[in-house]
Amino acid sequence: MAHAHADHHDDHDHHGPDKGIMRWIKTTNHKDLGTLYLFFAFTMFFIGGMMSLVIRAELFQPGLQFVHPEFFNQMTTMHALVMIFGGVMPGFVGLANWMVPMQVGCSDLALPRINNWGFWLLPAAFTLLLSTLFLPGGAPAGGWTMYPPLVLQTGDAFPFLIFAVHLMGISSITGAINIVVTILNMRAPGMTLLKMPLFVWTWLITAYLLIAVMPVLAGAVTMLLTDKYFATSFFTASGGGDPVMFQHIFWFFGHPEVYIMILPAFGIVSTIIPTFARKRLFGYDSMVYATASIAFLSFIVWAHHMFTVGMPLAAELFFMFATMLIAVPTGVKVFNWVATMWRGSMTFETPMLFAIAFVFLFTIGGFSGLMLALTPVDFLYHDTYFVVAHFHYVLVPGAVFSIIAAVYYWIPKWTGRMYNESLGKLHFWLSAIFINVTFFPQHFAGLAGMQRRVPDYAVQFLDFNVWSSVGAFVFFFAQFIFIYNMLACCYGWGGRKRDLTDRVWEGATGLEWTVPSPAPYHTFEDQPQIGDDGEPVKVKATKTAKAH
């Protein structure tokens, strides 16, 4: 996106960007880094998507047709690692990079060089991880959860897996500290905590989760490393350890991790729905408290991933009830989104369509999660396609739809050009229909007993899998409409003009809509002032004064 500096008109800019590739390598600018994060995330979505297509092609019919079972296992493992750590998390960090400084009214993130480091660690980590596909023994194939003792059988890829996770962890922790500090320390005067935009709030809480749990993951994989190479026995019963201990430590990270992947999505949806309903967000304070409650609860529910490993009954009951509690703050959120739309002056531009689809489809994923929370029935659901359907409903039409919605919503602000609405609607309907074609039948396959992570299946599951594979292929290729539409905004393809007003969307509120479209390379070198009503009172005056 070379446009960002081509015509920026910010004359305070005494250290402009370098030219060519060095600009991106050396940049300390939050907008450049946000762009890099987003390009990286969508590249990883593409690679992870290709892996999912290998899985779906193999599962199109029973029996083994395309790949060796070992390679199938590598695909399920790598698909998850790439999508979680390479796609969803960097996608949200990219959005935070772009939007948090603009939404709190400061010029950049608090630690711009650390921000650069946090980004460039990711290509290094994923080069290490993806290179394992070409090593003797292939990529890790023991599942993304890396359970011992199976994961310890990984070949040459094993240390690459561990160190890739370490590098991703450093990236996440530095990114999270940066975001926390920016939000706490660099807000515009007058923006009290309860006047912050909800995307900022959800990211603040997400960043706390990251700081708290990424080091735990680092500790867990370090213990795997020493178990394999330095004769320790953390996860070996003969030495007094316990493989289940790894699962506890891993899921102490892993459950907050799933909220790390959904809380920013809540923030995005809470931003988009009020804009296109042309009403204030219903229950702002309760949204904040609900987000904080979900974050707190995420630390005391981890063992619901492990109901079948043989825990004491008291633990099974505790984790069941704690998990079901999460439905309460989540219900508050869904109620608030619906109440925001109630009697609003609704229009249905593409970001709004994705946001509404989020509310519907994420709720389906939430309900199946509630079913999985029930210990006795989880013994039947565990490791079936029902679980696969559940977490794909919360991650794809949940997290991924929200990233897509956010890109549609803010790309006019980033590039100064409007996307093509017809293509956007086409993309939405193909995505919304075929994501359900892909994942809805997996509920039935799972309830009928189909196991996950197996390349073959009994013939009675055929119809569900045919639907699922067809849906996956159409969904995957439909995303290229989106990629084209967004790149066209970046590069001005098809004669797209930069003719947008500052506010772009009629109902949009917040500081980012008070600066020009595209946003100048450095926004808010002059601090905006937030009034008692939460609106940016003096910004307009400042800008008008500059224009004359």
């Binding site: 250290h15 290094a124 290490l128 940066n178 500790g219 953390f234 070996t236 002059d526």
Partner: protein, 291 residues
């Protein structure tokens, strides 16, 4: 309009920088080397050392750059506060990192060992797989991995180490108070005293490891006791090493005339880190050596 004028004190936006990218390259080469080394490939050592050298060089350059920016007075109040928050949350992330290993120790002692000896509903585990195993601490598990071993008594060298670290917490505070009263010489001397105590602690730790391996047959392979013992004390020792290097840098900076009585966050950040290392040791002393 007070807020309209560009306020140089308000935001510090650094120029584009190649340090972070080079740091990543260094780390990538380092872990590539370590991976190959662990898998016993032929080309592990050279990339490992080269990567490490590059990382150390970049750390030196990067911190050097930050120090000169600070000494040139480019940082205002806001940057100061940014560093305070960042250091605080960085230390919190370190606490969580140690938490994983403390958690492993807790889990092994209160759950996995009793279960292996048949506690609770796990009687069949004991009868069928590990008959006759009884959970006592210290333990190297039902297969007695690594053979018989002895442990290091708490009220011996570890107690001395505890006193050394607690004393170093006092000396660094004396140094800090001297700096705040602008008495540079005592500030420098107390800081070097802190460094000396850190080095002494490390010396005793190394001696303890040699003693454990050579005389006590206590190794990383000594079942869950050896695993948790060396993982916790080892990572703590690495942090003390890092902390001591940071203290040396601060002592040298004091001697060069850096820091002002009312503005010296580089100093305070290192002091925070040192206290964190100290507190982790207290936890170690109680749950690893003593109980």
């Amino acid at each position: 309009m007070a807020t309209a004028a560009p306020n140089k004190d308000r935001y510090f936006v650094p120029a584009p920088s190649a340090w972070p990218f080079m740091m990543t390259i260094g780390l990538a080469i380092l872990v590539l080397g370590v991976s190959n080394y662990l898998e016993s490939k032929s080309f592990g050592t050279i990339p490992m050392l080269a990567g490490l050298a590059l990382v150390i060089y970049i750390v030196f350059r990067w911190f050097g750059g930050v120090i000169s920016e600070s000494e040139r007075g480019e940082y205002g109040k806001q940057v100061d506060m940014t560093y305070r928050w960042s250091m605080g949350w960085f230390i919190f992330s370190e606490v969580m990192f140690f938490g994983a290993f403390f958690g492993a120790l807790f889990y092994a002692r209160t759950l996995s060992l009793p279960w292996l000896s048949g506690a609770g509903e796990k009687i069949e585990t004991n009868l069928q797989i590990w008959p006759g195993f009884e959970a006592v601490w210290p333990s190297n598990g039902p297969a007695a991995l690594g053979g018989d071993f002895q442990t290091i008594p708490a009220f011996d060298v570890p107690l001395i180490n505890t006193l050394i670290l607690l004393t170093s917490g006092v000396t660094i505070t004396l140094s800090h108070h001297a700096l705040k009263e602008d008495k540079r010489l005592p500030a420098i001397l107390w800081m070097w005293a802190t460094v000396a105590l850190g080095v002494l602690f490390l010396y005793f730790q190394v001696e303890e490891y040699i003693h454990a391996y050579r005389d006590l047959n206590l190794t990383m392979g000594s079942g869950i006791y050896g695993s948790t013992f060396f993982m916790l004390t080892g990572f703590h020792g690495m942090h003390v090493t890092l902390g001591t290097i940071m203290l040396i840098v601060i002592a040298l900076r004091l001697m060069k005339g850096h820091f002002k009585p009312d503005s010296h966050f580089g100093y305070e950040g290192v002091a925070w880190y040192w206290h964190f290392v100290d507190v982790v040791w207290l936890g170690l002393f109680v749950v690893v050596y003593w109980l």
